[in-house]
């Protein structure tokens, strides 16, 4: 990226890609004293060309690279791709497989949200206790994933036509136990974070994004819902088992960092409810339909599937040409949209240098998802 000109009265600071809080990206900020005048996001440090790689994989092989887009939330990402493949190839999915998919997606969402607010807390200062509590609680979910799929993070569990395996013996009880444990823990989080006056001081009124701006700049996920827009793909276009499940779309009006945090918080509560519902009401039956190992597509078919990942709406648009591989896969990644919002936030309100990491992690960026 060529660097735009610098005005004489500001100092340009380059954040990252080696910086404790920048993650895998570089952010150029123009600071005037402590006030940030301009943010320039220089992304692309983890660009791996997944869209091109997918053109060279068969439909089922493609699950592996696309899962690596968001490691903390692989279930939702893989579901987006698998649903697009199913739509393009015309594959039916049995009911029980849909419910299992929803269960794993919600577990992935909790996993990812834990990560998100752990980092947001970490950003408000060296406040590491809560951040590392989240890693402890993530282990509960990771153990469930491992029991179900055999892997902790990247579990290629969804395949076109269903899921790879049925729930193991006693898994539903373990889900219920995990839900009970997490409910208890989230009370601790709420006390340590939202009820902490200094934490509130750092987050309230910081990085305010109004409802109109959120829509105009194309925000998505908890960022959009934190600004009061109740858009959630799970409600708008119910996929998997979400049509049969009972949950609410969480919105907050303020649009600041605290609102985004609260949205994530309440979404976790909803996810726990969904997990319990699924553990109680999951229907029986087969978990997959027979699909050939190398399914051949019909020429000229397009399928756009949308799923609600933890970071927002993911769209996977598959174009086929009648071969064994997709002709083109377009991935509409949520973080890329939110990164643009982040870039514009310095113009929308007063941003201080110290607020920058908080704002950055309140949009929950996942650069691998952003760069693809």
């Amino acid at each position: 990226m060529s660097e735009p000109e610098i005005k004489p009265e500001v100092m340009r600071i380059s954040w990252g890609p080696q910086h404790p809080m920048s993650g895998q990206t570089r952010i150029l900020i123009d600071v005037d004293g402590e006030v940030v005048r301009r943010i320039i996001a220089d992304i692309g440090f983890t660009h791996r060309g997944i869209e091109k790689i997918l053109e060279n994989r068969t439909f089922i092989q493609g699950i592996v690279p696309i899962e690596r887009m968001v490691m903390a939330d692989t279930a939702n990402i893989a579901l987006g791709y698998v649903q697009a493949v199913e739509e393009a190839l015309g594959i039916e999915v049995p009911e029980r497989a849909k419910w299992i998919r929803s269960l794993i997606c919600e577990m992935g969402r909790i996993n990812s949200h834990l990560y998100a607010f752990g980092l947001q807390v970490e950003c408000t200062g060296y406040f590491p206790a809560v951040f590392l509590w989240t890693t402890v609680d993530r282990e509960v979910l990771l153990d469930l994933f491992e029991k179900l799929t055999g892997a902790r993070w990247s579990y290629s569990f969804f395949i076109p036509g269903g899921v790879r395996a049925d729930l193991p013996e006693g898994f539903r009880d373990e889900v219920r136990r995990a839900v009970r444990y997490l409910r208890r823990r989230f009370q601790d989080y709420w006390d340590a974070m939202v009820e902490n006056p200094l934490f509130e001081m750092r987050n309230r009124g910081v990085g305010v994004l109004s409802r109109e701006d959120a829509i105009r700049l194309g925000a998505t996920g908890p960022v959009l819902r934190g600004s009061g827009v109740d858009m959630d793909v799970r409600k708008d276009e119910p996929y998997a088992a979400y049509g049969d499940l009972d949950f609410k779309v969480i919105t907050e009006k303020e649009g600041d960092c605290l609102a985004r945090l609260k949205v994530r918080f309440h979404e976790i509560e909803q996810s726990l409810n969904i997990m319990e519902q699924i553990a109680d009401e999951i229907p029986g039956g087969p978990v997959r339909t027979k699909v050939p190992l190398f399914p051949r597509s019909k020429p000229g078919v397009e399928a756009l599937s949308r799923v609600e990942t933890a970071r927002g709406e993911l769209g996977v648009h598959i174009f086929t040409d009648g071969g064994l591989k997709p002709y083109r896969v377009k991935i509409n990644s949520p973080t890329l949209r939110n990164m643009y919002v982040f870039e514009r936030l310095a113009e929308l309100g007063r941003v201080l240098v110290a607020d920058l990491p908080v704002i950055l992690y309140s949009i929950d960026p996942w650069y691998l998802d952003c760069d693809r």
Binding site: S2, E51, I215, L304, H317, F319, K330, Y340
Partner: protein, 156 residues
């Protein structure tokens, strides 16, 4: 004049703005495509945003149809009221991939157009900052997502 259903939207667009677009299609529920004329895409975009409520930009990307000698730029747009997803498609000839930048209507398309520029070589006229987004700034390897890209990434 908010359209109630996908078919009504398509019919209305075809009836009232036929000079701006080639075609309009309903794929399935909540998925609508509009194929715009390249020269007049800005007018159509403004109408879509102001009159039809497609205020939320989602994403944009292109497809390279090498056999037909064209590329198609696709803008994914969202109506936050009716929750329709509209794909605004623009066909570009492969030997002259150039179109007006849509950032003046939806400035959030900035990143996506930069990505399309570096991946497909589509030249967006009037884009504020058409520089490399994902690839390194000194990238000289060609346009990776074009079908005739011959760098790494193609199995021999």
């Amino acid at each position: 004049m908010q359209a109630r259903s996908e078919e009504e939207l398509v019919e209305e667009l075809k009836r009232e703005h036929s000079e701006l677009l080639h075609d309009a299609i309903v794929h399935r529920s909540k998925r609508v495509s509009v194929i715009a004329k390249r020269e007049r895409v800005l007018e159509l975009a403004r109408i879509l945003r102001d009159q039809y409520g497609f205020t939320q930009p989602v994403s944009a990307g292109a497809v390279d149809y090498i056999k037909e000698g064209r590329m198609q730029m696709i803008y994914y747009l969202m109506n936050p009221k009716t929750r329709f997803m509209l794909m605004l498609r623009v066909d570009l000839p492969r030997d002259d991939p150039r179109m007006p930048s849509i950032t003046e209507i939806w400035d959030a398309m900035n990143f996506h157009e930069r990505e399309a520029w570096e991946m497909f070589g589509i030249n967006f006229e009037g884009h504020p900052n058409l520089t490399h987004l994902l690839l390194p700034p000194d990238w000289r390897g060609g346009y990776p997502l074009r079908k005739d890209f011959r760098g790494e990434g193609i199995r021999p």
